[in-house]
Assembly symmetry: C2
Homo-oligomer: 804 residues x 2
């Protein structure tokens, strides 16, 4: 199954007709419009599509059109005789229920065929109201959303119709539809058209009132049918004479043309006005910018300007293979999240946070504390993005360390202990937490403040999981390590006593000792991204190494200050003394901005290490891919380091929109959804695929490490001639390509693969992917359809494994 692109042609103006309610005259409006098109000029051809129709065949909407808008092409895809909602009609017909994807594909194909056959105006009429269920019982407004056809809304002229019309309009807006016009019958008693004209005028949406149609016959027989036909024919004649439908059609045409013109000019305009993040504009041309009309589920709807035949839609489904910079979890255009955002906006707007509390901020904080699985983390500090959240984490860690060790940070440099290739954001404070690199060294105020360990990296190569040692460890450990399953790599508790475990610890201990005692460095925090260092190049760190780093730091506080010992718990402050919550050696900060909240298949990626951080930062997936929000969680002990009678000792950090209600509400919705998915076993199929078949796997770890990307793909790609290494975990797939130029920013091999994924013009969708040096990675939502993922895997196999 291929995803459907949104539907947009220059020659064919296609609209979806939605009704504010059932029986508001959708088909009459359609007839009026098609009739007008047919009468306009001989070049115009109208077409009418009723995807799903219920009710007696004789009364079917497409037949009505054929009678009263002569010459209009009509089609009905699915017809059910019972005049009930389609979701009930299908049950009564007892035939195979058409799948939503099939309905969408049929609508798209019909419109495409028409576009190729010279049809200039097409209407796709829905059944009932906007939320009337389709055959699979979900709302039509959701069912047809991927097409995102502009809407002709037929409003309700009856008593109560103002309300139902506006609510129907709002339901469409919440789903990202553009309503291009509103039509309704004129009723001089209720005057809904006057009220609604004024209402929609403010939104620049044209509204056209039509004369009331003749009443329907009380009974249907040959005579009444004939009389009705006659009356309707006279009615349509009257409408054509008296109502300025032509000017409405011109407005609809203009809006269609404007939409395409705008899409055509967007790249040029963006090139003139937008300063892009992380982008070298030198040599960049407008054509390098992709206009995105909209997005739904895992797909962008991207504008394809040129090289199209007339029947091809100007919009194309493109798999968002970076999950929009690693933010998407529940799909684009998610109506539940959109409604959550609107609810919080409607209930609060924003509430200034200090001294106040509101439900979304409290709910989210409590949900995180209760569910994150780290008993140390008791306090939640809100900021707006990973970078600011890490700034707060660093301020917390440094203060706690300086406080305990009595250091005066204004007089001496306090440094960070971390890993090479780490990345924590682009504000200058957290840039200083990473070693000098392409990303930061040209920033005028950058001053790297720390020491960063080189570390052993995991990848699959030639069908085997390998841990490649950096030079200094390679010497002493003799060779790289090999594992038959990823579960073996993650059997950290078992591996602690291995030669590697002992060597890692000794190496870490002696390195820190040298830094502190020979070079006089002072360290204020240990910062790690658990398992995967994302922006640094999708580096997969041996979990044992990170675990050892944490153990050495906590087990040897004397390394950092000669007088330090492991602190005893304070039972007065920590009511559950069996749980260790005091930090030792250095405060440990986990940057889970990328790796947390199910990105790697688990709520917290710290669980892979079995290390409870003292401070942890989450963002990205937190809001399911909607708005910026970040939480920095900390232990009570870290919190108390800022407690003093002096206001100036407090953590004097804040942003205007701290804990904004919209973000918190969306985060609660998003987190709860993902937690429910985990509990209900939504990912069990993936887990099964990744369960090692070998014996000797530690009990309890079975299927604990898994990916949405198939194990077979990873294994197969690891044999590909151009592939240096590959891994998948959770929603992430990473492919390192061999590169004669040596990788890094200059790498071209990965860009070549990226190009091949974009230009699959065989009628399937595109894949939008991102490249980091010689690494191409792909990332899905946690809700991605397995068929879509396997289909993308097919593209990868074709690109990397086929002998061409």
């Amino acid at each position: 199954m291929s995803p459907v692109g949104a539907a947009l042609w220059r020659s064919l103006r296609a609209h979806q007709v939605y009704g504010a309610n059932t029986d508001v005259g959708k088909t009459i409006v359609s007839t009026v419009l098609c009739n007008a098109i047919q009468r306009q000029t001989s070049q115009n051809q109208a077409a009418f599509l009723k995807p799903v129709s219920t009710g007696p065949l004789d009364d079917a909407d497409d037949r009505h059109i054929q009678r009263h808008a002569a010459g209009t092409w009509t089609r009905c895809l699915y017809q059910f005789e019972e005049p009930v909602s389609p979701h009930i009609a299908v049950q009564q017909k007892k035939t195979t229920i058409p799948r939503d994807d099939d309905i969408l594909a049929s609508v798209h194909k019909t419109l495409s065929d028409w576009a190729g056959s010279g049809v200039s105006f097409a209407l796709v009429e829905t059944a009932g109201g906007v939320h009337s269920p389709g055959p699979n019982a979900n709302s039509q407004a959701d069912l047809y959303r991927p097409l995102r056809l502009p809407v002709v809304l037929v409003a309700d002229s009856r008593l109560g119709g103002i309300s139902s019309s506006i609510s129907a309009y709002e339901s469409l807006v919440v789903r990202g539809y553009d309503v291009h016009s509103v039509l309704l019958f004129r009723d001089e008693y209720y005057k809904n058209h006057e009220y609604l004209l004024n209402y929609f005028q403010k939104k620049s949406i044209p509204l056209v009132p039509l004369p009331s149609p003749p009443p329907k016959p009380a009974t249907w027989n040959v005579d009444s049918l004939a009389r009705d036909e006659e009356a309707m024919a006279a009615y349509y004649g009257r409408v054509a004479q008296k109502t300025d439908i032509m000017s409405l059609l011109e407005q609809l045409n203009a809006k269609n043309a404007e939409r395409i013109d705008r899409l055509e000019s967007m790249a040029r305009r963006a090139h003139a006005t937008i300063w892009y993040p992380f982008t070298q504009h030198h040599g960049m041309e407008a054509k390098d910018i992709t206009p995105i009309d909209s997005a739904y589920d895992d797909y962008f709807q991207t504008f394809a300007e040129s090289g199209l035949s007339p029947h091809e839609s100007k919009l194309r489904a493109t798999f968002d293979g970076s999950a929009s910079w690693w933010t998407q979890g529940l799909g684009h255009g998610n109506p539940s999240l959109a409604l959550s955002a609107a609810y919080a906006a409607g209930r609060y707007g924003h509430v200034m946070f200090p001294g106040n509390i509101h439900e979304p901020a409290l709910s989210l904080a409590e949900l995180l504390v209760q569910s994150i699985g780290n008993p140390r983390l008791r306090k939640v500090f809100y900021t707006d993005n990973g970078s600011t959240g890490m700034e707060v984490a660093v301020k917390m860690g440094l203060r706690a360390a300086c406080d305990r060790y009595g250091w005066d940070a204004s007089q001496e440099q306090i440094s960070i202990l971390g890993l090479k290739g780490s990345y924590h954001g682009d504000t200058i404070g957290v840039m200083d937490c990473s070693e000098p690199s392409t990303f930061n060294q040209k920033v005028e105020w950058y001053r790297g403040r720390g020491y960063w360990f080189d570390f052993p990296q995991v990848k699959m190569s030639q069908g085997v999981w390998k841990i490649e040692m950096p030079a200094h460890l390679h010497e002493s450990l003799g060779s790289d390590l090999e594992f038959s399953s990823l579960d073996g790599v993650f059997a950290v508790e078992n591996r602690l006593q291995s030669a590697a475990g002992k060597r890692y610890k000794e190496y870490i201990r002696s390195t820190i000792h040298g830094l502190v005692h020979k070079h006089g460095m002072k360290f204020g925090s240990l910062i790690m991204e658990p398992i995967i260092l994302g922006a640094g190049g999708m580096l997969f760190c041996d979990p044992l190494f990170q675990r050892c780093l944490a153990e050495v730091v906590r087990g040897h506080p004397e390394l950092f200050d000669p007088s330090a010992t492991r602190p005893a718990q304070d039972p007065a402050q920590d009511p559950a003394p069996e749980v260790e919550t005091a930090w030792s050696g250095l405060p440990i900060i986990f940057d889970e901005v990328f790796t947390g909240l199910y990105r790697l298949g688990r709520k917290s990626s710290a669980s892979f290490l079995n290390v409870d951080a003292d401070i942890a930062v989450n963002a990205k997936l937190l809001t399911g891919g909607l708005v910026p929000l970040c939480t920095t969680m900390a232990s009570d002990e870290i919190f108390r380091a800022f407690s003093s009678p002096e206001k100036s000792d407090a953590l004097l950090h804040g942003h205007s929109y701290t804990a904004h209600a919209v973000g918190c509400q969306v985060a609660v919705d998003s987190l709860q959804t993902m937690i429910r998915m985990e509990r209900s076993g939504s990912w069990d199929g993936y887990r099964q695929d990744w369960t090692p078949t070998q014996t000797g796997t530690p009990a309890g770890s079975r299927g604990d490490v898994w990916s949405v990307w198939s194990h077979g793909l990873v294994s197969d790609l690891s044999h590909a001639p151009s592939v240096d290494g590959v891994f998948a975990i959770g929603t992430v797939l990473s492919i390192s390509l061999k590169d004669i130029q040596g990788g890094g920013y200059t790498s071209t091999a990965a860009r070549g693969l990226q190009q091949r994924l974009v230009s699959t013009s065989d009628g399937k969708f595109n894949v939008h992917s991102r490249v980091l040096g010689n690494v191409l990675y792909l990332m899905s939502s946690v809700t991605s359809q397995v068929e879509a993922l396997r289909s993308i895997e097919g593209l990868l196999r074709e690109a990397l494994l086929s002998r061409r």
Copy 2:
């Protein structure tokens, strides 16, 4: 007119009955519920309020209740005989139309009286559907929103009713309502109740289907009425026997109790879990935290736990006097902004920005470039908040300067030129742009990098606008300056040639000369908050001083580098050479995060100085008070400083949600609304109030400087014995109090005034205000009601001017 608090009592469970459409059986549902209450126990008393009723008196809903739910107290506030929408009925009645505020106040008073009289259950029934217009033609869902009563939604059991019920539900959600239950009639043919039961179950909203009521008589006469009454009586008896209404009532009661319990526990829970921004938690208690149930317009609905008599609602309207940390522009819970947010969320979610463009990001960038009034600013860089936007601005400015002057910033310190008391955010990079102070000096990595000028400050004292000189200028200028009007202070062009102007320039020039040539400092940018330095203590800088600073920096590039000259325009790059766009001396950065976008009454506060910055940062009001978003705008020349064949020369800065669609869409809506308000003269009344009456005011400046706060108030307060100085501009009012302790963080005088504004328990609303040292400030939206502002002014007068 006082604002109405939201309605919430423990003893009285009050709900609003909304219908999915008209004629869905709202009154029957109300009767069923009231009937059940009345039958429950003798302690229970039901009450029914129909604020606005249309239709024949005999058929009125409250009469129906009286007949069939005997003993229920009923009330109708406004009755219109014509069975049409209230907005049409009022026209036909030709009486005075009740104002929305009056309707709200009456509903609130009725409920309060009932709460005090032992009523345990009350329903407030709306007319028609959720969006059916009230007497003043706006939607009931908006009209009643300030009360935010939990909703009993009566769904539609007819064909099409699934759609209209869900849409009605969504319209309520978008406005921040909580739907506590759904009822509808059972229809075994359409089975809407089955579909909706499943739908609302997923949202944890109980749905109860009721038996279908007997059909209405075809005609109304004495006989049919009697028959109908009998049939209805039998129906209600049947319902009472067969439907489990009691369990629904228990659920409603439980939800009411849960809401109050939660509000009661929120402060304690927040105290346990939340680490507040800018807050010293030492000594802070749960009672210092205010639970905010919701917010609407300019008011929080704050929870008042104790000291209430039974008739008082537990929620109280509290004026958001800090405009929620200076973010609010168009009022809390603004339905238009909420719908804009939902539209973008539904259309896109988030779209990763590099290499892509989407409509909201492009529209906003173009709108800003076209409307901001500074021809230099041509490129828009998006970030998430003022702090990150300023980090970007600093990176831009430093790069441009180092590039031109050939400095190697990795080897030498490049500094910032600024003003004392400036504040640019809490990320460490921009903290370094401010001089050492309480806010930053205890941050371990803070290293102030710059020089900050002391500056002359403006305030009104004893009825006169005074400019107080810092010591070094006081000596040479002899005395403080005085002006009879604020327009005089802002007559910057005229004042340039005054003694003060000449002295300012000379002082600035010689200071910079000394810093560079004696102390060897190198400067990379000039950063200013135009006019008002907000977080630094609402410091009002003499605009002439900031103008002179810009002129000296631009006019004397040789100050910063001996070889520098004013650069000639490059006509190839700048197509309109008559507009100067090249930076000279230093790039000038305006931090308009607080002062921009109408906070001071103008789109850009730079216009007060008539200086076009090279880089400008906007945030806060940008999104009208909904979600974080920031724009850093720059000149093409600054942009080109990052252009090179090397990727690593680019501005490698970005955040995951850069240019998120929700924020951009809301910003477009918000900005366009404010621009429309300015053009349509919405603030002309304020302008008039501030037009100087004196002669000799420079032409063209009349009424150009104005405030929503009345000129009379400012003048009167400036005479108050405890007031040191006062000023108002745009939406900002600032009152400096005399403080024997010397001001600063230890100041208590301002806190005293703050307390007096909170504790006005005379039935009026509270005022939530913020204090900065010895300054208490108040800030409104641009849409605040003038009556509300004048009413707050009354509180200030009482607190500061009455002789008690």
